[in-house]
Amino acid sequence: MNAVLNKPGGGTAATVAMEVRGLSVEVRAADGPVPVVREVSFSASSGQTLALLGESGCGKSMTAQAVTGLLDPVAEVVGGEVLLDGQDVLRLGSRERRRLAGPGLAVVFQDAMTALNPVYTVGSQLAEPFRIHQRLSRRAAREKAVELMERVGIPEPRARAKSYPHQFSGGLRQRLLIAMAVALEPSVLIADEPTTALDVTVQAQIMELLAELRRETRMALVLITHDLAVVAEQADQVAVMYAGSIVESGPIAEVFGAPRHPYTRGLLDSVPAGHARGTRLRSIEGTPPRPAAIPSGCAFRTRCPMARERCATDPPPLTTTGPGRASACHYWKELADA
């Protein structure tokens, strides 16, 4: 699958740490179920970063929640499997699932304030994974927590372990969440918009930390974001999502260098950087469809400059367009040749 590794960091052939196949999620609504994730497949390799890229409402966070078993009760997985170490995580009971949370699959959320418990010290929260999974004593777990805080760059970790979450800045709180997520050296870490709430100089620090941890522990990092520039800098592989489906995927340099789906092309053209001041940005017309009103055929056709009759009737499947690359467009060849 990941045959083409043109990144120096990629090194030897990557092993697949997690594979998602045909994942579909529906949300129950008053007038029947609404599909929000539709047949999503991707694989995350050890030591690599896979970016799930898309605009709000495209289903990227729902995908993450489904994979981690944290879906809102109104949403439900209606198909597909998530293979981690050969077992389908979606079929596990809640007890087995919890056993995996930490050493197998961990997650970092966007909002570091609500993800930490305000009434416990950060030291005791960070010690929790060691107490539960490794059954360490209170003292030993506390020691591990302090080490972990030091590892993620919290100044004066021993003293700060006794502080509460509100006593930390946004950037430090995000570091704490990352520390908690990597405590048991997971094979897969899912980071859902980990830097969206942070300032740009702090964002750079956090992305740097995640990249370091990924290299050190060889974990697979699944980075969920709407920020094209972050993807360009961090990802080895990218999967672009639109209206609940992956519309294009492949190695980052190839996808961003020569996109094979008009949506990816449109996103790249919408970025202001590099356009001279005052020139018109080539934006995508219209707005993304609501999940309850996705157009027939290709979901992107109503906004697509290349759309033709066929697009209204035949939904384009995600098909291989080259080594490691796939596109869900009937006319991808026209983009590739252009």
Binding site: K7, P8, G9, E55, S56, S169, G171, L172, D199, V200, T201, V202, Q203, A204, Q205, M207, E208, A211, H226, D227, L228, A229, V230, A232, E233, Q234, I252, A253, F256, G257, G266, L267, L268, D269, S270, V271, P272, A273, G274, H275, R277, G278, R280, L281, R282, S283, I284, T287, P288
Partner: protein, 343 residues
């Protein structure tokens, strides 16, 4: 200040040495004042876009609020078209207010959900009765809607029937309703998706070309500011640390903070792993404006800092070659270190 001499007539807006502090609960060091603005100079010329860049807590929103006369500065002067708005009384005050309008960040929170698009856009005329005669108001609303890329037929719809981008268009139409000379745009596209953001930026550019309105464009997104701004001011902890044309500031930053900000911003260019290491990653975070560092406020995070930086507040000085490119730094960068050709 060395800026603007002969060639420039009175700028539209000129603020000098603005200071603003707020009372806060006593901090660890015993301070009870939050220093939001510590002597800010800023100039906006007619019909131009001044980009205001800085991280959260740097005072950019406080500055906007002072310029909109929503806060009174502790000291310093504001001149709008040569007049001090804080000295206006009686009828002159609403006449001035009409000339400065605002577009807000969050189009979901800033529009009253119980008013239709028409009511939202015509609401400013309830206070400013003589701008548009009553019988022409419906026609003017239709014009404004079309001007911002909506349909005249949308007038009767409520905010929740519009998408985020369309709501921001309503917010812009509402700001335009009083024919202002200056619109303060506080993060106008940061709540929008990328594809929609580009549409709104295009609209703002077109409106400026058509109406000659000036923008004070506040944003944390450097690529957006680079795209829209004629000139740029960079703020750090209540001070403008660098200003100049967008070209100067973005391609040849003189203040180390600007350089690190540019370097920290991710770029679309797909870089290889070893190249990524060259970026300037600042240590630490922005200190609290309650206890700002002495001397240059950036010195605890600056890799060039020397003893003097912790003691003496650096003056804003223009680049040696002349011109308007000014920086407040004892040890300004002379060579281009952080110039990045984005994508």
């Amino acid at each position: 200040m060395p800026e603007d001499t002969a060639e420039e007539p009175t700028p539209l807006l000129e603020a000098r040495d603005l200071k603003k502090t707020f009372r806060v609960p006593r901090s660890a060091s015993g301070s009870t004042r939050l220093h939001a603005l510590g002597g800010v100079d800023i100039t906006v010329r007619r019909g131009e876009t001044l980009g205001l860049v800085g991280e959260s807590g740097c005072g950019k929103s406080t500055l906007a609020r002072v310029l909109l006369m929503l806060e009174r500065p502790d000291s310093g002067t504001v001149r709008f078209d040569g007049v001090d708005p804080f000295a206006l009384r009686g009828k002159e005050l609403p006449a001035w207010r009409r000339r400065v309008q605002m577009v807000f960040q969050d189009p979901f929170a800033s529009l009253n959900p119980r008013l239709t698009a028409e009511e939202l856009i015509s609401e400013p005329w309830l206070s400013h009765r003589d701008v548009v005669p009553r019988r022409e108001r419906a026609k003017r609303v239709a014009e404004l809607l079309e001007m911002v890329g909506l349909r005249a037929g949308d007038a009767g719809r409520y905010p929740q029937e519009f998408s985020g981008g369309q709501r921001q268009r309503i917010g812009i139409a509402r700001a335009l309703a009083l024919n202002p000379d200056l619109i303060v745009c506080d993060e106008p596209v940061s709540a929008l998706d990328l594809s929609v953001q580009a549409q709104v930026l295009n609209l703002l550019t077109e409106l400026q070309a058509e109406l000659g309105v000036a923008y004070l464009f506040i944003s944390h997104d450097l690529s957006v500011v680079r795209h829209v701004a004629d000139r740029v001011a960079v703020m750090y902890l209540g001070r403008v640390v660098e200003s100049g044309t967008a070209e100067e500031v973005f391609t040849a930053p003189r203040h180390p903070y600007t350089a690190s900000l540019l370097s920290a911003a991710p770029s679309l260019e797909v870089t290889r792993e070893q190249d990524r290491r060259q970026r300037i990653v600042l240590s630490g975070e922005v200190p609290s404006p309650v206890d700002p560092p002495a001397g240059c406020r950036f010195h605890p995070r600056c890799w060039k800092a020397e003893a003097v930086c912790g003691e003496v507040v650096p003056e804003v000085e223009p680049a040696p070659g002349g011109g308007h490119h000014a920086a407040a730094c004892h040890l300004p960068l002379e060579v281009v270190t952080a110039a990045k050709a984005d994508s």
